[in-house]
């Protein structure tokens, strides 16, 4: 080496004279591009079939279009509605007196509603929060071209409900493009005429309670599946392979059977004129008049869901228990541990990753369960997903359904985060 070499070290070069570092970077970038191109189809698939539709539905939970624009579905042309009133709300803060200028704006908007035939749509949006508003809108829009100043008297003359400050509060929150009112409704709250958040009337509070019940029943189901699955998985893992494979069929067979068939079987078994009650009455353990009600309530929901979700607990437990070397427990025993101590200190800790995986799987599936509680839950065994389905299919209030679903999703992600902090997601073993 010469002195100049040590001062400015000669860069390593490839055969064709490029600096090695650059050549490496270029090669790596090429590889990265190639790898990216390989996963690109999957990425596009996930974006199109998963992220986009879910994102769009979640957007509905905060988007407020019903009172802002109307769409002609054959031409896809959107026409803004209620523009005058929206302008009045922008010019006048919360608590401003609802004066003649507000009613004039309303009268102008009613004309547009009549022309666009959008009164029912705008009324439906307000009706979600204030019962009776739909007919108020359709009735007033029908007479819109007969309205003359002073508008306040003319409109209140059509229906005195227009004088209700709560109605103007709802219209204010509905006339901006984004709203939190569906999220408030999803936690049994609403915004009053002054814009303050209030609890809804006690006899209408339901969602918070159902979120709580969903959480408790799901934890209960997770606990019961764990109790039942642990010994079964242990048996499967310790039996000779030929026998355990045969027993495994009994675990997998119901797993492969349709969910509906299994739920209906439970109905046949547990209903008050069902097999179990008939057997108990037949044996003289129960009187014919006081048959046990095991179906159409929470008991039925927990029993059926525990059975249906059992394989999701057994399989991860089994896959973790199978490779555990039996000589560990034998060594503990030969060193003087009682069988309980050997189980508690040696065997059980090795199965924790399986428990963690099974519990997470069962819990997440249970939280979103819908068909089983719908069929066997009766009145008090309903979960939050049943109310989401109700708003999707019956009341057609998709925005509220989306808000409930978003809260459920957020709640699960939060629980997952807690779980990760407590147990650690790398401790999880699915197989």
């Amino acid at each position: 080496m010469t002195a100049s070499d040590t001062d400015t070290p000669q860069m390593l070069q490839t055969v064709d004279g490029k600096p090695l570092k650059q050549a490496l970077i270029a090669a790596q970038a090429r590889n990265k591009r190639r790898a990216f191109l390989l996963v690109l189809p999957l990425l596009v698939f996930i974006l199109v079939t998963f992220v986009a539709p879910i994102g769009q539905l979640l957007l509905k939970s905060a988007n407020n279009s019903g009172f802002v624009e109307t769409e002609d579905f054959s031409t896809n042309i959107k026409t803004p509605i209620m523009t005058n009133l929206a302008q009045w709300f922008r010019d006048n803060p919360h608590g401003a007196e609802i004066d003649e200028s507000a009613y004039a704006a309303l009268a102008a908007d009613m004309l547009v509603l009549k022309e666009e035939r959008a009164a029912g749509q705008a009324g439906t949006r307000i009706n979600y929060e204030l019962s009776g508003s739909r007919s108020l809108f359709t009735k007033t829009a029908r007479k819109a071209n007969k309205l003359e100043p002073p508008y306040k008297e003319a409109i209140i003359d059509i229906d005195e409900d227009w004088d209700d400050p709560a109605l103007w509060g709802v219209m204010r929150s509905a006339s901006s493009e984004w709203t939190d009112s569906f999220y408030l409704a999803a936690v049994d709250r609403y915004r009053d005429a002054n814009g303050d958040v209030q609890n809804v009337n006690e006899n209408r509070q339901i969602y918070v309670k159902l979120f709580g019940r969903t959480l408790i029943l799901s934890l209960l189901v997770t606990f019961f599946t764990f109790l039942l699955a642990y010994p079964v998985a242990h048996l499967l893992a310790t039996l000779p392979l030929a026998k355990s494979n045969l027993l495994m069929i009994f675990v997998l067979l119901p797993f492969w059977t349709s969910l509906l068939v299994r739920t209906t079987s439970w109905m046949i078994l547990l209903q008050s004129q069902g097999v179990v009650n008939d057997a108990l009455v037949g044996m003289g353990l129960l009187g014919d008049d006081n048959r046990i009600q095991m179906m159409y309530n929470q008991t039925g929901t927990v029993i059926a869901m525990t059975h249906i979700l059992l394989p999701f607990m057994i399989l991860p437990l089994y896959s973790v228990m199978r490779p555990i070397n039996p000589s560990y427990v034998r060594a503990a025993r030969s060193l003087g541990a009682t069988s309980w101590t050997a189980f508690r200190r040696i065997y059980f800790p090795q199965t924790v990753p399986g428990i963690a995986a099974g519990a997470l799987l069962v819990f997440i599936l249970a939280v979103g369960y819908y068909i089983t509680p719908a069929l066997v839950g009766g009145a008090d065994g309903q979960l939050i997903s049943n109310l989401i389905a109700f708003h999707m299919q019956k009341s057609l209030n998709w925005s509220l359904a989306a808000a409930l679903a978003a809260l459920l999703l957020g709640g699960i992600l939060a629980l997952y985060w807690v779980y990760d902090r407590l147990i650690g997601i790398d401790n999880l073993k699915l197989g």
């Binding site: 029912g120 439906t124 019962s131 004129q273 719908a374 009145a379």
Partner: protein, 357 residues
């Protein structure tokens, strides 16, 4: 060369023929009800016009209509929906408007507008049947036969479980009628808070004895299994279980709630023209009368009433099983759709909260 031209010509004409063989898709509620429509409407329509009718079913056709039209991908041409859904979907601009002049007059020349029962013709919908929610019971496990709606809410004299539809609609009205409120006063009372409280108080009386159902096929099953002794049900389903399947079920017409089903055409239906033809054809006097021989729902045209004959078994007289038969209308309520589109959200929320407590 000549052969080639000939082949080409045949190919072209067959393409043209295939293009004229039109199809429409009609969505309905399934079961015995769809069957009655296939027999009375679809088959003769295809025979007469050559337009093939594909029949598909949904739990409530209003839901797929909303989804399809909003997504701009409509595959349904005609759908059978409930009254309040027809009004709501029309309001939201999801339905084609009906040209009522296309509807044929009655055989005696009465114009369609006068021939249909009041309310059956709407801006976007044409009524086809009148159905009703009735109370039904199993004759084999009721020692004394209930004969009025009051008995449904009287577990002291009529012990046993009750089946009720898990929905505020019809349930609240029945509760009030079961508490002695006359049909004419029911909706006035339900407009008030006291009226709603009273309805829930009546339901409280039997809350522990209620088995809730959701699909129309459930109540006949619950009754036949002995799981409940009485249930509310759609009258056609009970008729089918009793007459076609020989179950010991009986209808109590007192306190029945009448409702319409209507044909609607979703906005942007792929074959809207043929769909309108189907709506006009299937709601003429003869077709509506024919349907009644397959299921016990009343025709929406007055002129069809006299033409209703025997059930398809050839011996059961259908007229007494119609919800619109004079003898069955003694204490009957007509569902007030305006009330329900207004109050649906509030009352169902309260109903769900009441259920969960």
């Amino acid at each position: 060369m000549k052969l080639k031209t000939a082949l080409l010509a045949t190919a072209l004409t067959s393409v043209a023929a295939a293009a004229t063989a039109q199809e429409i898709t009609v969505m309905s509620w399934g079961g015995a009800y769809t069957k009655s429509q296939v027999e009375a409407y679809h088959k003769p329509f295809t025979a007469e016009t050559g337009i093939v009718v594909n029949s598909v079913d949904a739990d409530n056709p209003a839901t797929p209509i909303k989804a399809q039209v909003e997504a701009g991908n409509v595959s349904i041409d005609v759908a059978d929906v409930e009254f309040s859904d027809a009004v709501r979907l029309c309001d939201e601009g999801l339905l084609e408007e009906m040209d009522l002049s296309m509807l044929p007059a009655a055989p005696d020349g009465t114009a369609a507008e006068d021939d249909f029962i009041e309310g059956a013709l709407q801006d976007c919908a044409v009524g086809n049947i009148v159905w009703s929610t009735v109370m039904a019971y199993n004759t084999s496990n009721n020692p004394t036969a209930p004969d009025s709606i009051d008995d449904f809410f009287n577990t002291a004299d009529f012990p046993g479980k009750r089946g009720l539809r898990k929905s505020a609609k019809a349930t609240l009205e029945m509760a009030l009628m079961g508490d002695g409120v006359a049909a004419a006063d029911v909706y006035d009372l339900l407009e008030t808070d006291e009226g709603v409280d009273r309805a829930f108080a009546v339901l409280d009386r039997i809350k522990d004895d209620i088995v809730w159902w959701e699909a129309g096929a459930q109540p006949p099953q619950l009754l036949a299994d002995g799981e409940v002794v009485m249930s509310t049900a759609y009258n056609g389903r009970i008729f089918n279980a009793a007459v076609a399947e020989g179950q010991p079920l009986e209808v109590v017409w007192d306190g029945q709630i009448l409702d319409f089903d209507l044909w609607v055409v979703p906005k942007g239906a792929p074959n809207a023209e043929a769909a309108m033809k189907f709506v006009a054809y299937s709601t003429d006097t003869q077709r509506l009368a024919d349907q009644a021989s397959w299921i016990s729902y009343g025709p929406a045209r007055k002129s069809s009433g006299a033409m209703v004959g025997l059930y398809s078994d050839g011996k059961t007289e259908m007229a007494p099983h119609m919800p619109t038969a004079a003898a069955n209308l003694g204490n009957a309520l007509v569902n007030n759709f305006e009330f329900w589109v207004d109050k649906d959200a509030e009352l169902n929320e309260r109903f769900n909260a009441w259920l969960a407590n």
